[in-house]
């Protein structure tokens, strides 16, 4: 019997020997709802920042008639809400801001008011009224059909959308853009939107149960539907785009490091093409968390970097051209894991990598890796500079002691000192060419990658 046959037979036998626990479907569903409710109650988490020309109001169930409020300039009453937490932030975006308020769990979101015009002086916490103006109006809290979670009727420009509404409700500042998420969990419904500088709003209602609709309001007030982007409820975490470019990139990720509900919490990059009005997904990676985005000095290229908070998968990198949305380093850039993936080792602590926007040095399970980007030449280089198999990596976080970039004799050098035990050295990389200019070592031959350079 071959090794693989032996393995197969062993797993088969072990699997057969394992009694499956009772699994009445109804009971399983009940337990799931209970678990989820507990998870939400424990995750009283609110993110509230607002920028841009977003105006949304969420009114409690006792609020006014949405038919009156929606679509017109109107004054309405937003009832005061107990235990409401909110932040406000003014902007210079044409006086078009905004208050967003949410409540903390376990009390679900009950009120948020955003006034898009001069009425911004009104605060939600101190008053029971605020002025709401078109095109935004009221989201009314309501009770969803489920026993566990509330819902809301979400009106934007007179168009009613029913969404499940639980924490978090979030609006994130993005360089005069704003991002709104009304997230659900238990019924896989969520809405997110992006407010552009001109005040137009991109929004997507994600509804895994009933089909997703992506829609956009143009500056003339007309709405148009766009192709579905994703079925992942997410939160926009970063934005990069050229001012005059025709494509913007939006990076979306889950707000939770340990999302109690969405196993798909991760990162999505989507692009919006102003010329064609299209909105498409570039790539996604579901198993990343803590993703950061580092544009290069000119903002032309982005190094998308996972921080490696996942002890299993570790960091991953991808590069995208911020101006065009293209992947200058090949199609693989749409799949960050294919560009570079640290297979990781649970025993290696997090944040073991040192990096600059252009460089990073870190450890995989079996290798020391140095990654370097050369923006001018459109190159992404990565080198394996050593093997952990020959050294003690139990304190691998300390292996990389220094990573710095500085000019020496006309060269922009990147120094990476690695090694704590059997391996140590310094690599100096010419950033103009991407080549290693010099290498100093302390009793260790770094091997072909550097030697070849």
């Amino acid at each position: 019997m071959s090794f693989e046959d032996d393995l197969r037979a062993t797993l088969d036998s072990a699997g057969r020997s394992a009694p499956a626990p009772p699994g009445d479907l109804r009971q399983v569903m009940k337990r799931g709802r209970r678990r989820r409710a507990l998870a939400y109650a424990g995750s009283a988490f609110v993110v509230v920042v607002a920028v841009g020309a977003l105006a949304v109001a969420i009114q409690s169930v006792t609020g006014g008639d949405p038919d009156v409020l929606a679509g017109d300039s109107a004054t309405t009453t937003v009832p005061a809400v107990d235990e409401q937490r909110f932040q406000e932030r003014s902007t210079e975006a044409d006086g078009a801001l905004d208050y967003v308020a949410t409540t903390a769990a376990p009390s679900p979101t009950t009120a948020a008011a955003v006034a898009p015009d001069e009425a911004t002086s009104t605060t939600v916490a101190d008053t029971t009224t605020t002025t709401l103006a078109a095109p935004y109006s009221v989201v009314r809290r309501d009770e969803y059909e489920s026993e566990d979670f509330p819902a809301a009727d979400f009106y934007l420009n007179g168009r009613a959308r029913r969404v499940v509404l639980t924490n978090p409700l979030a609006v994130v500042d993005l360089e005069e853009r704003a991002f709104l998420e009304v997230s659900d969990a238990p019924f896989a419904r969520a809405t997110y939107g992006i407010v552009l500088p001109d005040g137009s709003l991109l929004a997507q209602e994600l509804d895994a149960l009933f089909g997703a609709t992506l829609w956009r309001r143009s500056t003339d007030g007309r709405w148009s539907e766009l192709p579905p982007v994703s079925d992942l409820p997410t939160l926009l975490a970063g934005y990069y785009g050229s001012d005059e470019g025709t494509v913007d990139l939006y990076f979306i990720e889950s707000p939770f490091e340990e999302d109690p509900v969405f196993e798909d919490a991760g990162t999505i990059a989507i692009e919006y093409d102003y010329d064609n009005g299209t909105f498409s997904e570039l790539w996604r990676r579901a198993d990343l968390s803590g993703t950061r985005y580092s544009p290069n000095s000119t903002g032309e290229v982005i190094l998308v970097e996972d921080q490696g908070v996942d002890p299993v998968y570790g960091p991953a990198y991808a590069l995208l051209d911020a101006g065009t949305g293209a992947a200058p380093f090949g199609a693989e850039a749409h799949q960050p894991t294919a560009v570079f993936e640290d297979s990781g080792n649970p025993s290696i602590p997090d944040r073991r990598a040192l990096r600059t926007p252009d460089h990073a040095a870190f450890i995989t399970e079996t290798e020391y890796v140095y990654i370097e980007t050369n923006w001018e030449e459109g190159l992404l280089r990565s080198w394996v500079v050593g093997s952990t198999e020959t050294s003690d990596v139990s304190n691998a976080a300390e292996v990389f002691e220094l990573a710095a970039s500085y000019p020496v004799d006309g060269y922009e050098l990147f120094a990476c000192r690695f090694g704590r035990y059997s391996v140590s050295g310094n690599a100096f990389v010419d950033l103009e060419t991407g080549f290693v200019a010099e290498f100093y070592e302390d009793g260790y031959d770094p091997g072909p990658p550097f030697a070849a350079c």
Partner: protein, 170 residues
């Protein structure tokens, strides 16, 4: 009890429209695969329950996937991993001998060796040799590139051979 052959034919079988049927066919097998992966019976049971709830909630979408069982398995695996992380455990399911029954056929040392592999290797090996899924199916299920599946599988098997030999010598 659902025959393992059913889940091995997963992509075809799972096109059934009924979630209840999916649940009946897949649930126990996914549980066993997860148990083999994480080596913890109670956690595996809870994770599969959770995964099935989420599968149900998204059934309209998930049912269209090429391999819904792969999705459910991934959900369960991620959920279990999160739970372990919350419990501040550094290693994932590093003691499968505490949770996986001793096989009546095959080599128990292999199971022990499997349990000592990193989780990402373990999951790939289990999906390949327990479910008999192709590398493409595994890549799809775990949402990783096919190349990653290959490398993990190769490394996992190599490690398994090495560790089994070491265990056998002890």
């Amino acid at each position: 009890m659902v025959a393992l052959a059913e889940i091995r034919a997963a992509p075809a079988v799972l096109r059934q429209s009924s979630f209840e049927e999916y649940y009946r066919v897949q649930r126990d097998s996914i549980y066993r695969a997860l148990l083999l992966t994480i080596g913890n019976q109670s956690l595996a049971a809870e994770a599969v329950d959770e995964a099935m709830v989420r599968t149900y909630q998204r059934w309209r979408t998930v049912s269209k996937y090429r391999n819904p069982a792969g999705w459910s398995y991934r959900v369960a695996l991620n959920w279990a991993r999160d739970q372990l992380r919350k419990r501040k455990r550094e290693q994932l399911g590093d003691a499968p001998e505490m949770g996986v029954p001793v096989p009546s056929v095959g080599d128990p040392m292999l199971l022990e060796a499997l349990g000592s592999l990193p989780l990402e290797y373990r999951s790939v090996v289990v999906l390949r040799y327990y479910f008999d899924w192709s590398q493409v199916q595994i890549a799809d299920a775990l949402d990783i590139p096919e190349g990653t599946v290959k490398s993990r599988l190769n490394r996992g098997l190599a490690e398994l051979r090495k560790r089994k030999e070491v265990t056998g010598e002890l």
